[in-house]
């Protein structure tokens, strides 16, 4: 397992936000965590990234405990809902930021960054500053900046929630493609059932600070409590109706 989280607990004052949370993510796999706003998803991701200290429990990366390790030494990247690009740097420099910190030779840095720009279809925007980009372009740049340093785990906190449906769909596709290509394990947090099913190899459901994980997507879909089956049946029946309507019109 790349990431193993055991018995994580966290309180803010009197409020218990996380309670005995446990999960694991295998290599090249994506775990989708579905849950309503305020259920503790963001706190969980921030604990894994080292931005918040847990009250109890452990976080392990490739078996080694990192619970008390500083953020910059974890090689775990947390992607916010907003792209949060560095406003004083161009798209190229934003993507190359992590590589510059690692003091890569200039040729290698330019080669890798240019390749990433091509993957993201951002070559034409390399010299632009963040304020000159659209929402989707900003999000793609943020992806590139995170993935180029080959993090052990990528944590995504509803990264597509502010995008329009079309851009959102293309970003979902792009993320799956990049995660496969760069072999990145990820934890994808969302409140959208469809997105959780689409993005995750396995799925977890979070409610009031407690996480229930399912070994496979199918197990989650078949579970009667989470409404996934109903949702799929609703969309299937709608599709069937549309097909019948088209068929009748053709006849």
């Amino acid at each position: 397992m790349v990431l193993t989280v055991q018995e994580i607990g966290k309180c803010f004052g009197q409020q218990m936000v996380l309670q005995g949370v446990a999960l694991s993510v295998a290599e090249r796999q994506t775990l989708s965590v579905l849950g309503r706003s305020g259920c503790g998803k963001t706190t969980l991701l921030k604990i894994i990234a080292g931005l918040i200290a847990p009250d109890s429990g452990t976080v392990r990366l490739h078996g080694a405990e990192i619970t008390k390790k500083p953020t910059e030494q974890r090689n775990v990247v947390y992607l916010y809902q907003e792209p949060l690009l560095f406003p004083h740097l161009t798209v190229f420099e934003n993507i190359a930021f992590g590589l510059r910190l690692r003091r890569l030779p200039n040729n290698d840095l330019t080669h890798r960054t240019t390749r990433m720009l091509e993957h993201l279809e951002l070559q034409a925007h390399a010299k632009k500053f963040p304020h000159q980009l659209s929402g989707g372009q900003k999000q793609r740049t943020a992806f590139g900046r995170a993935i180029i340093i080959a993090p052990d785990v990528l944590l995504l906190d509803e990264p597509f929630s502010s995008l329009d449906p079309e851009t959102r769909a293309s970003m979902q596709h792009l993320f799956k493609q990049l995660a496969q290509e760069y072999g990145i394990a990820s934890l994808f947090v969302t409140h959208d059932l469809k997105e959780a099913i689409l993005m995750g190899d396995s799925i977890g459901y979070m409610e009031a600070g407690k996480l229930t994980t399912f070994a496979s997507r199918q197990e989650f879909i078949n579970h009667p409590d989470y409404g996934a089956r109903n949702e799929i049946e609703f969309w299937s029946s709608l599709r069937q109706q549309a097909t019948n309507h088209d068929h009748a019109a053709t006849v």
Binding site: A49, L51, P70, T71, E72, R74, N75, V76, V77, Y78, Y80, E82, L84, F86, P87, H88, F97, G98, R100, L101, R102, R145, A146, I149
Partner: protein, 260 residues
């Protein structure tokens, strides 16, 4: 736009311009005047004699100028850099409001009142009449201003940018040098300018804590005015106005460059 309207507008702009420039021009004229007595509208003779005398060692103008520059630079650099970091601490602290209130205390007092309050303590500490004492007293005021100035800079977005840099592998010095300082160039510059000007024009606090021994330019201006030496006072005033003008021009040039 009609011709009449344009003429009126230009006249208005010229009048406003004169309102700002007139005192400076008058002081300049006064510093070169010789034997300018009532009721002459203009000085009968002009010469650089006054400036030559003023630069003489016995007048202390050179010393006052250098001391003013030193004091203002130390106060501006100290308060801007410490205020930048202290404001971060205040902004992210759970007692933010209480700490911010404390920062306001020296700021809401006038510098003279602040000087009167700390005078006795400074006497006991042996700081009255010393440059260090004046620097500390001015810093107490300027630092409060700098903290209040930077508190709004350290918001949730800055914190997230800082976190983003750290997750990509940046250490604390790297986070500052590669992200936080570059994005805060303009507010840093503005705070430096404001605190420099506060120190540069400071009279009351310098006089109380300096005990008359620390003769900065504003102290000299008051001294000359008190002696009814209007020519020397005009010369010292001209010197007092030059650095702020240069800084304002520099700040504007840099703002335009950063804006681009």
């Amino acid at each position: 736009m009609s011709n009449q309207h344009r003429i009126f507008q230009n006249a208005l702009v010229a009048a406003v311009g004169m309102l700002f420039a007139a005192p400076m021009l008058y002081l300049l004229l006064l510093s070169f005047a010789e034997g300018w007595t009532f009721p002459h509208l203009f000085p009968p003779r002009v010469s650089a004699g006054l400036w030559e005398t003023m630069w003489g060692r016995e007048q202390g103008l050179v010393g006052g100028l250098l001391l003013s520059i030193l004091l203002s630079v130390v106060v501006a650099v100290g308060s801007t850099s410490v205020g930048f970091l202290a404001a971060r601490y205040v902004s992210y602290h759970r007692w933010r409001r209480g700490l911010l209130f404390l920062s306001y205390i020296p700021f809401v007092m006038s510098p003279v009142v602040l000087g009167a309050c700390i005078h006795v303590v400074f006497i006991r500490l042996g700081l009255v009449g010393t440059v260090a004492g004046v620097v500390i007293a001015q810093l107490m005021f300027a630092l409060g201003f700098a903290v209040i100035f930077f508190v709004s800079f350290w918001n949730a977005e800055r914190k997230s940018l800082e976190e983003a840099a750290r997750m990509l592998g940046a250490t604390t010095p790297q986070t500052y040098s590669r992200v936080l300082l570059p994005i805060s160039r303009q507010p840093l510059l503005l705070c430096f300018l404001q605190t420099f000007l506060f120190s540069w024009f400071q009279y009351g606090l310098t006089l109380i804590i300096g005990g008359g021994k620390i003769t900065t330019l504003p102290v000299l201006v008051y001294l000359y005015t008190g002696e009814a030496n209007i020519y020397y006072a005009a010369g010292a005033s001209i010197l007092l106005m030059l650095p702020p003008l240069v800084m304002l021009w520099g700040n504007r040039a840099m703002a335009v460059r950063f804006g681009r």
